[in-house]
């Protein structure tokens, strides 16, 4: 299947190049984000009736994991409001660059942090406290505020979008999973870049800023680190950058060999399975342990959580691939074969999320009318009853997602195994067992 360039026609290209449509979306998102912080901090402590919980962990999460990531890769990053205030300060402008730029430190992020380990850690921090985070409006408000002000602070010290690229817990996994998406931003012709002077796509120009994601667009071969901010489309003087429609998971044909990304795959796989068991299962003792942060039970839960993610899952995986003989070092095989876990990881999250989203989506109507639990009724839906949706479709949909994910991962395993010249069978069996466990937990 060939690629189709979406930016070939003038309509889409100009809509993306112009800063005004993007700014309009940015303002809406920023207002919603700030309102979520305030609703969380001052509104009702009851999560199901507070805008911050309902719109972050039900509405936004649903759109992110069911639509944005599978179909648009890092599409959320394109509209996320978190970096905006810091970036506007850093640039000294909200639209095109000025001649006079403000003098911020613009330090380069130290090499030791230029990977996704910090993002792995920030995601795990949220994950260990997720039961409290997902159910307490004030905690959600605080976390949102910390991310916003953290991004602003980092923008005044480091160059570009340091928070987004190296710290954001969400960016860590949507970067990894964006490799499965059917859209991509790539250059059209390598020769054009080879002869380009100044590389304004990376260094900026009067038309726009150098890539905020610290990516050289000319060298982009996969979606993982491109945040679809469209600056390079504005700066490229040779109109050499395109947004293409392409087959799903085209990026996984050439698997990554990075260890930080491999562990991200295990983090996501493990946490989906743990949440399916703890949050959606019938075992109250697990829920108590997960929620009562600071108690002995929670410490044990946290240790087991981390053990599953860092020891058991990668350990079993390594045992499996040790069986196969190869001249390539284990680390390279491990990282490369771990990319096969990306499709099932995504589908595990889709299947898990479908459950609580369909069950609780009805809260969205009430939260729209009474976002802070103050007794408002803006749209008349404040008393909309809680009613699970599409319950007869849920289990079959989860089955389809999980079976589909397994087939997808198996094919990815084949491609990855070919690259490192080993058999893909151990990885496929590993994915099979993980899928069986997830099916048992969810159905």
């Amino acid at each position: 299947m060939a690629k189709i360039e979406l930016t070939r026609g003038p309509f889409i290209k100009n809509a993306l190049k112009s800063r005004y449509p993007q700014l309009a979306v940015f303002v809406i998102m920023l207002v919603g984000y700030i309102f979520a912080i305030l609703a969380g901090l001052t509104g009702t402590p009851v999560g199901s009736r507070n805008f911050s919980i309902v719109f972050v962990w039900i509405a936004w999460w649903a759109i992110l994991i069911l639509v944005a990531v599978p179909f648009f890769g890092r599409g959320w990053c394109a509209v996320c409001p978190i970096p905006l205030p810091g970036e506007w300060l850093q640039r000294g402008s909200v639209l095109a660059p000025h001649d006079k730029r403000p003098k911020w430190l613009n330090l380069r992020v130290p090499k030791i942090f230029r990977n996704i380990w910090l993002q792995n850690i920030s995601f795990l921090l949220l994950a260990l406290f997720s039961s409290v985070l997902l159910t307490s409006p004030n905690i959600t408000g605080i976390v949102l505020a910390v991310m916003l002000f953290g991004a602003i602070g980092l923008s005044t010290i480091f160059e570009r979008r340091a928070f987004c690229r190296y710290l954001c817990p969400v960016g860590g996994f949507i970067g990894l999973y964006s490799q499965t998406a059917p859209i991509e931003l790539r250059i059209k012709d390598k020769q054009v870049c080879a002869t380009c002077e100044g590389k304004p796509c990376y260094n900026g120009s009067q038309a726009g800023y150098g890539c905020p994601w610290d990516v050289f667009p000319g060298g982009l071969t996969r979606n993982t680190y491109c945040g679809l901010c469209m600056e390079c489309i504005r700066t490229c003087p040779h109109d050499n950058i395109a947004i293409n429609l392409r087959p799903f998971s085209a990026d996984l044909a050439k698997p990554s060999t990075r260890l930080d990304e491999a562990f991200k795959a295990f983090i996501m796989l493990g946490s989906a399975m743990i949440y399916a068991g703890v949050l959606l299962g019938p075992w109250g003792v697990l829920k108590d342990a997960a929620y009562n942060v600071g108690t002995n039970a929670w410490f044990i839960y946290a240790v087991i959580f981390l053990a599953i993610i860092f020891v058991i899952l990668p350990g079993l995986f390594t045992l499996g691939i040790l069986q196969t003989k190869s001249i390539l070092p284990l680390k390279r095989r491990f990282a490369s074969l771990a990319t096969a876990l990306i499709p099932i990881g995504l589908m595990f999250w889709v299947a898990f999320s479908l459950s609580f989203v369909l069950t609780n989506a009805s809260y969205i109507l009430a939260a729209l009318s009474d976002p802070m639990g103050l007794g408002w009724n803006l749209f008349g839906t404040a008393n909309a009853a809680w009613q699970p949706m599409l319950t007869s479709v849920l289990a079959p949909a989860q089955t389809l997602a999980l079976v589909g994910g397994l087939i997808w991962s198996a094919r990815t395993a084949q491609k990855a195994a070919n690259e490192v010249k080993v058999s893909s069978i151990p990885v496929i069996v590993y994915c099979l067992i993980a899928t069986l466990v997830m099916l048992w937990l969810l159905l």
């Binding site: 700014l23 303002v27 920023l30 207002v31 919603g32 700030i34 309102f35 305030l38 609703a39 001052t42 509104g43 009702t44 402590p45 009851v46 199901s48 009736r49 507070n50 506007w88 402008s93 909200v94 639209l95 095109a96 000025h98 009474d370 976002p371 802070m372 639990g373 103050l374 007794g375 408002w376 404040a382 008393n383």
Partner: protein
């Protein structure tokens, strides 16, 4: 600076100010009365003030679980106070004084402690003194044990008692009923020619004569909503909180001047004849009004009206006696 940049900045600033200012402003203009489980702080605020005759508009919301709201000794329907939702109530008080508002849906072990007061100021008339409850005028020690020395072998029946009572000079007055325990009434019948079982049946009849079916139904409802959670749906002292009360007592050092039996403990078993047949209605009224002084039994004096308490007591005795078929 270019015009587009300036306009964009203004738009952004306005949007942010709106996003921050609007919710903060509205939040500050909406005084809510928050209902929280006692363990989380109870009612907040828990003291409300209003002038006599002026309406008090309240916006109630729960911050955790399902609660309810009612005013003690006032004929106002209870309203539910739901988590995250706002319930509006308007109250008007004719007489000055201190009124108690309380939670009406069980919200944990300490649900009954979830109370607040409404201070109604107004006319300068002197507060009228309340009359002393019966156990005070009878000089009853309501903390003293009140076991009946003997109890019937079978459940006494008021239906049989009615047949037996026709020839007897019975004092069916409320004064007699309220000031005597069933055992005392049983003893007072020893000058008759009835067997012990028959005398108990007459006592049951005497007890039934001092209440009506409607009162028993009211008493039953009050019991179900307020007492069953600790005392059990069948009065056996085995309600859902019975174990928690006992555990709280065992782990606490709270005793009243050395009286071990004044620590939190398993709720009374109303199906135990020894304990109940030795208690007069006045004694039970005293316990209900004053509470258990550390035993975990709530004080209901500010909450129930006198008639409601007599109805409740009548229902409690119905665990001992067969009143109707």
């Amino acid at each position: 600076m270019k015009r587009s940049e300036l306009l964009s900045r203004i738009l952004i600033m306005l949007a942010i100010v709106g996003a921050v200012g609007t919710p903060l402003y509205v939040w500050s203009q909406t005084p809510l009365v928050h209902a929280q489980m006692s363990e989380n702080g109870g009612w907040n605020p828990d003291i409300l003030r209003v002038e006599v005759g002026k309406p008090l508009h309240l916006k109630l919301t729960s911050d955790d679980v399902m609660h309810g709201f009612a005013i003690g000794q006032m004929d106002v329907d209870a309203v539910d106070v739901e988590p995250g939702k706002v319930t509006q109530v308007t109250l008007t008080f004719d007489k000055p004084g201190i009124y108690t508002f309380y939670c009406t849906r069980w919200c944990g072990l300490n649900h009954w402690r979830m109370r607040g007061t409404i201070e109604v100021n107004g006319s300068n008339s002197e507060p009228q003194p309340a009359s002393a409850p019966l156990y005070v005028s009878l000089n009853l020690d309501i903390d003293a044990p009140h076991d009946a020395p003997s109890v019937p072998n079978d459940q006494p029946s008021a239906i049989r008692g009615q047949g037996l009572a026709t020839e007897l000079p019975l004092d069916l007055s409320a004064e007699y009923y309220r000031s005597h325990s069933p055992y005392q009434a049983f003893i007072d019948l020893s000058n008759t020619s009835l067997t012990e079982a028959q005398r108990w049946d007459v006592v049951a009849y005497l007890w039934r004569s001092n209440t009506t079916k409607e009162s028993l139904a009211n008493g039953r409802q009050r019991y179900t909503q307020n007492c069953a959670a600790c005392h059990g749906e069948n009065g056996a002292g085995d309600g859902v909180f019975a174990d928690d009360l006992k555990a709280a007592g065992d782990s606490s050092a709270q005793t009243m001047a050395g009286a071990q039996d004044m620590k939190m403990q398993t709720p009374a078993n109303f199906s135990n004849p020894t304990r109940i047949l030795g208690a007069s209605p006045a004694l039970l009224q005293g316990k209900i009004l004053r509470g258990g002084m550390g035993t975990g039994m709530p004080m209901w004096g500010a909450i129930f009206a006198e008639e409601q308490i007599w109805d409740l007591i009548a229902y409690i005795y119905s665990f001992q006696f067969e009143y109707h078929k």
